[in-house]
Assembly symmetry: C2
Homo-oligomer: 455 residues x 2
Amino acid sequence: MIDQFKQWFADHRDTIYDDFFAFLKFASISTDPAHKKDMLACAGWLQKYLETFGFQTELWETSGHPTLYGENLSAGPDRPTLLFYLHYDVQPVTPLEEWNSPPFEPTVKEGKVVARGAVDNKGQCFYTLTALKAFHALSKKLGINVKLCIEGEEEIGSEGLSGILDAKKEKLKADYFLVIDFDMLGEKQPAITLGMRGITTINISCRNSTVDLHSGSFGGFVVNPARALMRAVSVMWDDEGKVTIPGFYDKVKSFQKEELEEFAWDVDPKDLAAPFKVGAFAGESGYSLLESNWIRPVLEINGMSSGYTGSGFKTIIPAKSMVKLSCRLVPDQDPKEILSLIADFLKKKLPAGIDVELELGHGSRGMITSPHSKLAEMTAQAFEEVFQTSCKKVLCGATIPIVPELAKVSGAELVMTGVGLAEDGMHAPNESFGLERFEKGFLSIARIVEILSGE
Amino acid sequence: MIDQFKQWFADHRDTIYDDFFAFLKFASISTDPAHKKDMLACAGWLQKYLETFGFQTELWETSGHPTLYGENLSAGPDRPTLLFYLHYDVQPVTPLEEWNSPPFEPTVKEGKVVARGAVDNKGQCFYTLTALKAFHALSKKLGINVKLCIEGEEEIGSEGLSGILDAKKEKLKADYFLVIDFDMLGEKQPAITLGMRGITTINISCRNSTVDLHSGSFGGFVVNPARALMRAVSVMWDDEGKVTIPGFYDKVKSFQKEELEEFAWDVDPKDLAAPFKVGAFAGESGYSLLESNWIRPVLEINGMSSGYTGSGFKTIIPAKSMVKLSCRLVPDQDPKEILSLIADFLKKKLPAGIDVELELGHGSRGMITSPHSKLAEMTAQAFEEVFQTSCKKVLCGATIPIVPELAKVSGAELVMTGVGLAEDGMHAPNESFGLERFEKGFLSIARIVEILSGE
């Protein structure tokens, strides 16, 4: 079956890449208002493209950038429905000077296309669409109904799409839900992801004077807001790497051994970190490094600043200090509850008299889904056929906040997957995507659809 | 006696201010190489000025900006010698947009002259010189020899002057040594300063990856260098505000009650901090706030940074983190020893595998001198006559690193004083100096010289 798609791809390679590169050329940077026009042009182009292979489309207005919805319900109401989640927005390109070719002029080099969005998510989106186009081109009957939800705000928190989910509930109903925005474990090792951690964020600022003070004239009697904040934050962990905030672990889901045993616990996180020359590793005591990333919540410092940070020295008691914290959450932890535990803790630990400002984020919940669902089994089967090796089942320490919401609204079995690799440099300069992997992605999607169609 | 000087000042007010403002017009910013010419022009102008009232001068080359030396030894070798320390360099003017008038165009407003250096130290320097000029103009015999050491690198650490002290030892020998670079306790409350804390600085940087990492993909197993550094630094103090670094207090001089009882312990540090709306105060347990600032060493955070610090949120494990620390030291604490204690402590507290870089500063010692020296008594007497109120004797939590070195080389009794006020905004935009205070400063110096001369 795969051979037929392979042949079609070979016969139409030039057209496929011409279209893909046209898609990559839109500077669809969602975070930058200056690119609003590019966003709309990109969504419009994609809408027309979908219509060339049998999809009916709608451009959904949101509070931000529009979501492109497409459907091909030709299989009929008694057949199952598969929903894909993809996104057409990309990250900013800074620092521009580190790019070897212009980020929105796709350039092929050593078998890879280099461009912003090459993999995240335009590349993953486009091989998915190309697979659906192949069914149309080959006049192969779709044995399932297919829905596409291609949003424009994944890189900026998906607020727009989140805001219209209720209104679009019926449209998004499905039996199977594939999120194609994930990585493989290695060039030859496909994987499907069956759980994600949630997230919540908090910014804390402290101020104890209108301006920076002379550290000689004031040091010893004025509370230093850098020291006060550092002290309050640093006791949020004990020596074992456990979070000390009362109640933090109260609702942490504990898994049955059987629930977890299907996952690939032989993945070595140190291998994942090797490209970045990481020297020091530590997880929560009582858990492996991988467990600490996959099934345990963490609290991390994402940024901090206070006082003078340039070269040399400025002997001041800083006027203010700031720390940005975030938690990755596991199922059953409520982001709002966790935030209020952190806020309470900080208020108790920071000295009286100091001005404290807390800025609380929105947050989203973690989730885990069965490794034994029909979708999981069939997606793994497709990958195994294409890559000729067993497909690993993994969890993920990261978060796509919209996914649990979409999963709930769709009512579908969920699998998250993709053929990205850390080395593709998503979000970084010279983001790239191997064209051979693009083709394998195409084949995998085609085969998933075939299998779900009953072939 | 004061009346004679008062009258002379009144008779020559215009000339005095013309000269003072000419001095203020030089953009003698020592830290900025672009102002090298201004520095030299300023020193040259001042050299000529000294020669108009009987001083012999030398411009001493240093590794940086020159020091202007002047002497009037007409009193003869059997009379005592008084050395003044002053400086002609000033702080940078940034942020320029916050100035209401150009910083190097002295502007008189509501009885104050506004200019960079108005008080620090050109103002304090110039009333001192004007007092010496008055002796010459009034044909009053100097009963003491006077030496002037007017340096050009006070604002950048005095390395140049420090480097030539040994070579200039003989020239700098004196019986009395006045440093005119200090503040009063209030508009009507003169004070003399008889001790200063020393200083030492250290920058610590940690790195655990080549780039910032995704906090979802890596959070839980990669050591976060912000968290590691915060944790190591925050345990440098206990809950009582005491520094926990082993050995930190070992050489802290403990004073006899009698040694300290002359000092003005009724000064309220909260009053000093009031203009800056400070809300939280704390000192070392077992000591008053003022003791914590004057006679106890402190360790402070002067700056810190890590990761993303802009608006919104970026969920990363930062690649690196940085903290700037400094200690204010008391007599008998050796800056080098203290630095090595801190470095040892940090090395033990930071996790293995993380890259740690320590950048150690030079440092200088603290010092305290007798409130009962002849110079202290006579300076206080002069202030009491001019201000018609008792003069307080105080210590100072800050540091002028060159002063203990100069005191040692000169072999003289030391008093530090001046008529600055915190509200003059030294180092800040719109630095100013009240002209009435300028005149009082002039009278005080004239009277000190008279008293030391035996009148």
